[in-house]
């Protein structure tokens, strides 16, 4: 993980001092709400239904145990003892007072944490997949490039007042766990014919009211050109993105209206003027950033050590092992996913006590490092296989070892109308009811990998468009209704889901999900044909018929 140097620390401290002054000027009335709102958004401070919400960035989903302890402290000292991990690898606190925010931010800054640009019309938290640096199928660690970009786009004087928000994601694996195709800029690291590593650059992905998948405008961009090329894209967007209509202000609309080729040409033209200038990345600059990335001094261990072989005799442990533990690129090690989706719990939430306990376990078993995934689960990235059984017992004790990772009860949900002022309907209780219906893990396992994504409004923070089953909350005559889509996917074969049929009321949505699951069992060609592949093969109609037959 990246260790701040003096520059990084100073910048965050200066940002906190500036925000403290801005809050004081707001409370005194010197700044109007209209003048203050963009400023507080640029520090991740929202006003929600009940209180202010603080969104803290976890750059590319990597967190130290020290930082996790600070999050637990903030939850306890300034909030109500818990936090929510989001679909963009951030964490949210729901009850913070504006008056106390400067102090909370001062505390966070001591651990190198901040809310810079987690909201507002600027570049948001740059995400990658939570297995960056440890996955066997990765060609190199994308986080170094994410960090280079993060710095370049932080408090960038030209790009802090964009037409709208801007989201960037990177992947360096053939299997895209970062959903790069639904980002404003998606970057896929890959090797060209000559064996060089570079980026496929995709632009204009995004969900919300008008979902689009990103279009490739540069099949292979050398590493050297990353900053200058992104600068050219941003400059295009800043100047020509629409500012007359907030529903048409994302870059996806600009790309769509200009056409991909014209957009690519315009970027190319701008880029030609700057590509050999000061933003060209040379070895020294990259090496400097890379030098501050710390990697564990892994022990030399063998796969399947005797402790693990013996532990497999425990059936409960074996179930968890098969579900939540994944291969690591270093022999004798494993990646452990911590499910934050207990039955009946709000998806993606953790208490301060859990955060502290996880920090402790990270120190003991994972070289002090934790990962946050966009599925709203956590991971311990560097676990020795011989420690898996002991770790599991501890995780089980604190309630983060539900073996439902990637199953139907591993639901991704936005906070919805229970918290969010933009929402039309609730999402958390819908998620909870579904986890109750599928509490039987044999049933859940029989259904296989099945991602449900729930959004409480069209802003799609739950990413429902790319859910295998997507659920969108809408309002009809003052009542909560839910629109269902199926067949979406977020990976390298990304697709938007297809609407199943008319929206159903709150009381029926869990029944609909059960009917879809039943239909899948009936329709699948083989037990190992994934739900999303069955939908691809047979289409939506067979599902629609079964679900709506009695409705």
């Amino acid at each position: 993980m990246y260790i701040y140097d003096e520059f990084d620390r100073t910048l965050v401290d200066e940002r906190v001092r500036e925000f403290r002054d801005q809050v004081a000027r707001r409370l005194s009335g010197e700044l109007t709400e209209e003048e203050f709102k963009p400023l507080r958004l640029m520090n991740g401070v929202y006003l929600q239904l009940h209180a202010y919400m603080l969104r803290i960035a976890i750059p590319y989903g990597t967190l130290s145990s020290h930082q996790m302890r600070m999050l637990a402290h903030v939850a306890q000292r300034y909030d109500r003892g818990y936090g929510h991990f989001t679909t963009r690898q951030n964490i949210q606190f729901n009850w913070i007072k504006l008056e106390e925010l400067p102090d909370a931010m001062t505390d966070l800054a001591r651990a190198g944490l901040h809310g810079m640009q987690t909201s507002g019309n600027c570049v948001r938290n740059i995400t990658t997949d939570q297995w960056a640096g440890i996955a066997p199928d990765e060609i190199e660690d994308p986080r170094i490039w994410a960090e280079l970009l993060r710095q370049h786009l932080t408090l960038h004087p030209e790009f802090s007042f964009l037409p709208r928000k801007f989201k960037v994601a990177l992947t360096a694996s053939t299997h895209d766990r970062a959903a790069v195709k639904i980002h404003d800029i998606g970057l896929r690291m890959h090797r060209n014919g000559a064996g060089e590593t570079g980026f496929e650059v995709m632009v204009g992905g995004g969900l919300g009211r008008t979902p689009f998948l990103g279009k490739t405008i540069k099949p292979f961009l050398p590493k050297r050109d990353l900053l200058s090329y992104v600068e050219a894209i941003m400059r295009m967007y800043n100047q020509y993105g629409r500012r007359d209509n907030i529903y048409k202000a994302r870059i996806k609309i600009l790309v769509h209206e200009l056409g991909t080729e014209k957009f690519a040409r315009e970027v190319e033209e701008e880029w030609q003027s700057i590509k050999d200038g000061v933003l060209a990345l040379d070895h020294a600059v990259v090496a400097d950033i890379a030098a501050r990335f710390r990697y564990p001094g892994y022990e030399e261990l063998a796969d399947n050590p005797p402790e693990l072989a013996k532990a497999r005799e425990d059936a409960r442990f074996r179930t968890w092992l098969d579900n939540s533990v994944s291969n690591h690129k270093v022999a004798g090690h494993a990646i452990v996913t911590l499910s934050l989706k207990p039955e009946d719990g709000p998806p993606g939430d953790a208490t301060a006590a859990q955060m502290d306990a996880i920090a402790e376990l990270a120190d003991r078993y994972s070289y002090g490092e934790i990962r946050v995934g966009h599925e709203q689960n956590l991971a311990l990235p560097h676990v020795a296989q011989r420690d898996l059984h002991a770790l599991w017992r501890a995780l089980d004790e604190i309630g983060v070892a539900t073996p439902n990772v990637n199953l139907i009860s591993d639901i991704i949900a936005c906070p919805g109308l229970d918290y969010c002022s933009l929402a039309n309907a609730r999402s958390i209780p819908v998620a909870q009811e579904i986890t109750r219906r599928f509490r039987n893990l044999d049933v859940a396992r029989a259904l296989g990998r099945l991602h449900i994504n729930i959004s409480g409004c069209i802003n799609a923070c739950g990413h429902h468009h790319i859910g295998h089953i997507g659920i969108l909350g809408v309002e009809k005559n003052g009542e909560e209704y839910y629109q269902v889509t199926i067949g979406g996917r977020a990976d390298e074969r990304a697709e938007l889901g297809t609407i199943l049929g008319p929206a159903v009321p709150y009381g029926e949505i869990a029944d609909v999900v059960e009917d879809i699951a039943a239909a899948y069992l009936e329709l699948r060609a083989r037990p190992d044909e994934l739900f999303v592949d069955t939908v691809k093969r047979v289409g939506v109609d067979p599902f629609k018929d079964r679900v709506y037959a009695a409705r």
Binding site: I3, E30, R110, P157, Q239
Partner: protein, 178 residues
């Protein structure tokens, strides 16, 4: 509204001329874009300085032929959230090498002054008196800048290159329990 230049509130010697009004002789003027483009051949001969106010939805490249004699380019922030003129400013300074006065007009507030300065503006029609008075403080809020612009401030990109690979890990004792 106060004009700030070189860190101080100064008197604005430039007179705004509306679209078809006559251009006074011997007076520094700022003209609308259309006027400048139409009358450039005459305006270049003026004894007094000539400036232009350029809308934020027009390419500044159109100004390129005139930049060697235009005294002021005034760019526009119709509201402070409309950031198009930041790009225009950087292009004028860094692409077109404009060396005259680059003036920020429209809604110009304290919390954008440093961004504006970094983008190349050197004159500011600051909306609020209190913000104009606080200019010097506002542009000194930060000492660290990640990205190089044309403003001459050292960025971390260049500073780190000079240091070579370096960086110390923070000590664990930095955390103090609340």
């Amino acid at each position: 509204m106060p004009l700030v230049k070189a860190g101080h509130i100064v008197e604005d010697r430039f007179v705004r001329v509306l679209d078809d009004a006559p251009v006074p002789e011997g007076v520094a003027v700022i003209l609308p874009a259309a006027r400048l483009l139409a009358d450039a051949r005459d305006l270049v001969l003026r004894q007094a300085p000539t400036g232009v106010i350029w809308p934020n939805d027009r390419k500044v490249a159109e100004l390129a032929p005139y930049l060697d004699w235009i005294a002021v380019v005034a760019l526009v922030f119709p509201n402070f959230r409309d950031g198009r003129a930041y790009s225009q400013a950087r292009l004028l300074r860094e692409r077109h090498q404009f060396r005259g006065e680059l003036r920020a007009t429209g809604q110009v507030l304290r919390d954008q002054l440093l961004f504006l300065h970094r983008a190349g503006f050197d004159a500011f029609e600051v909306t609020k008196d209190a913000d104009a008075a606080a200019f010097a403080e506002a542009v000194r809020r930060y000492s660290v800048f990640y990205q190089p612009t044309g403003d001459g401030r050292t960025s971390t990109l260049t500073a780190r290159r000079a240091h070579g690979a370096s960086g110390t890990a923070p000590s664990p004792s930095e955390y103090v329990a609340g």
